[in-house]
């Protein structure tokens, strides 16, 4: 690691440039080669959750927040699929390019900065989240689980959510010594967030203290935006939710870029 103190690296703002587009394009080109199996693989699992839990559990649950459990769950799964899609891409795929394949090193020998590479990877992972979740939204629409055209607003929100989740994962990637390290992130962050963000059941059914804690989870805010849009409800404090997501995007990019610079520029 760098000789400089961490606080000094964190004080430096990442340098924004449009160079990141080349990184995004590179990943898009690779993805296009395996587009079909990738789409099927990525939306197969959330779809299974939706159908199995929706039909299976839905029969016992009945109505939740004045809608069928299937409908309640569909909007939640759209959000969690964005999280897993972005996370896997920014953890495993980006880490492979950072270490095994040395793709990042090759990019940095070209006129690219660490900040460009990290941003390109985050935007790509956000794009993957959008692709995955869009497939779920489509299936949900076909199953009659989407109420109105305002559901179209889900797409930009999912992209923003994908950027935030990718940024968090990129912090882990930047400090990770090995693939095994990711397990901590899954156990300590991803799984609690998935269970406590209102994807599978309403936050109101949790003890108050947990519900308040959940206000810090970006996934909870994404769900609070996406669910009303898909099911025809009204959004409480939409600007607050958007602000939380934006803070996560900017903050995690800032931190992950600083950590990646620390790891790579030495």
């Amino acid at each position: 690691m760098s000789d400089r103190p961490l606080s000094q690296d964190l004080r430096e703002a990442p340098q924004l440039s449009t160079r990141f587009v080349a990184v995004w394009l590179r990943n898009l080109r690779v993805w296009r080669k395996l587009m079909l199996p990738s789409i099927l693989g990525n939306f197969g699992e959330p779809l299974l959750y939706l159908l199995a839990l929706g039909y299976g559990l839905g029969q016992f649950v009945g109505e939740v927040e004045n809608m069928s459990y299937m409908m309640f769950l569909a909007s939640g799964i759209v959000c969690s699929a964005a999280m897993t899609g972005a996370t896997f891409e920014a953890l495993y795929s980006a880490y492979t390019r950072l270490t095994q394949q040395q793709t990042w090193a090759a990019m940095l020998a070209a006129p690219m900065n660490v900040d460009d590479v990290v941003l390109g990877e985050i935007v790509w992972a956000g794009t993957k989240a959008l692709i995955n979740s869009s497939a779920i939204v489509l299936v949900a629409a076909l199953l009659g689980l989407v109420r109105g055209p305002e559901a179209l607003l889900v797409f930009p929100i999912i992209l923003l959510a994908g950027l935030a989740f990718a940024g968090i994962a990129m912090i882990v990637t930047a400090i990770s010594p090995s693939y095994d390290f990711f397990l901590y992130y899954f156990t300590l962050v991803m799984t609690p967030m998935l269970l406590l963000s209102g994807v599978f059941f309403p936050l109101s059914s949790l003890p108050d203290v947990v519900g308040i804690g959940a206000q810090f989870l970006p996934l909870a805010h994404v769900v609070m935006l996406v669910r009303p849009l898909m099911t025809g409800g009204t959004i409480d404090a939409p600007l607050l939710h958007l602000a939380v997501i934006l803070v996560y995007i900017v903050g995690t990019y800032w931190i992950s870029a600083a950590l990646a610079r620390r790891r790579l520029i030495r």
Binding site: R19, A22, L25, R29, T103, A105, A106, A109, P111, R266
Partner: protein, 339 residues
């Protein structure tokens, strides 16, 4: 470390950069370049001046600081202290602008395994901001240069080590660079592949590009380079053209005794005490005798004198050669093993 008998030690000419043609613009200027890791100076006050169009080698044993020096010149590692200007740009502040006009061949191939040969070139061009159609326009030329025309659509995994290195070299040319930096360009290649790379580098040099390479192959530096800096423990111990380095630091003629012959004369085959100093007459005749592992090197100023003396004492079975950069290198950096 074996002693250096019968010859006064040659003072290392640290910092002396030899003859630099001053009429050409300078591609690289470094002053007091230093890099500290954990309190240790890995690169310790290096000065370099490299005119444009020159082929320059950083020579040194493993761990001497070659790669760190190269990375600092390219703006990939920030120096702890010192000033660097490459292609007129201050480094590392304007490293990105400089790298737009440079090509880099890393020590370990990092071709993109997710792409074919052709796609690798297009994708790498995009990192330089070179448009796809501009890379496509030069594609045939680049593929021919790498002799990979037939393999254009092959996956990277299927290429041999030599092919990968050639592709990495072609990849470094997508932006038509003025300066090409190569970190151990022929390490790990078989002799044919190495010759091939050298031929390519000669071509690039003739085109007027500045070549900056690190190597621990003396032959590489001797064949390709106008000048070489010998680096040890992070410092330049000598810097000049290969020919002048040899003239300045070593006797021009060398005889080698190898294997059993060397072992015999070193008295290591049979435990006869009288063999201990069996080569002393050569030293007495003004020759320098230098045992290196299972080889004895005997250096002399005059060829005939050297050969006569060796022939008289040892008889046939020796090997004569003119002194090379390797002799200079061993002289200046010592003979102990480096890791």
């Amino acid at each position: 470390m074996a002693g250096q008998p019968a010859h006064p030690p040659v003072p290392a000419t640290g910092g002396d950069e030899g003859a630099v043609a001053t009429d050409r613009p300078l591609a690289v200027v470094a002053r007091g370049l230093t890099r500290r890791y954990g309190g240790r100076n890995v690169v310790d006050g290096i000065d370099l001046t490299i005119p444009a169009g020159e082929c320059f080698a950083l020579l040194g044993p493993n761990g001497a600081g070659k790669t760190t020096t190269l990375r600092m010149l390219l703006g990939l590692t920030p120096p702890s202290s010192g000033d660097v200007t490459v292609l007129g740009e201050p480094i590392p502040e304007r490293g990105r602008a400089m790298r737009e006009r440079a090509g880099i061949v890393p020590q370990f191939d990092n071709l993109d395994p997710d792409f074919s040969v052709r796609e690798n070139l297009v994708t790498y061009g995009a990192y330089y901001g070179v448009r796809r159609r501009d890379v496509e326009a030069r594609m045939d030329e680049l593929l021919r240069f790498a002799e990979l025309t037939e393999r254009a659509n092959d996956a990277i995994d299927g290429l041999s080590g030599g092919m990968k290195r050639r592709l990495t070299l072609a990849r470094a040319l997508v932006n038509d660079p003025e300066l090409l930096a190569l970190d151990e360009p022929s390490t790990g290649l078989d002799p044919q592949a190495r010759q091939h790379i050298w031929e390519r580098l000669h071509t690039l040099r003739r085109q007027g590009r500045t070549l900056l390479l690190t190597t621990h192959y003396m032959e590489e530096a001797e064949r390709l380079c106008d000048r070489a800096a010998i680096i040890d423990h992070g410092r330049i111990v000598a810097c000049d053209s290969p020919r002048r380095l040899i003239e300045a630091h070593i006797e021009p003629h060398v005889v080698e005794l190898r294997g059993d012959l060397a072992m015999h004369w070193l008295g290591r085959l049979a435990p006869h005490a009288e063999h201990d100093n069996a080569l002393a007459p050569l030293a007495d005749a003004g020759l320098r005798v230098e045992p290196v592992g299972e080889t004895v090197l005997i250096y002399g100023q005059q060829r005939d004198h050297l050969l006569d003396e060796v022939e008289a004492l040892v008889g046939p079975g020796y090997l004569y050669r003119p002194a090379s950069l390797e002799d200079v290198f061993l002289r200046l950096t010592g003979r102990e093993l480096r890791d």
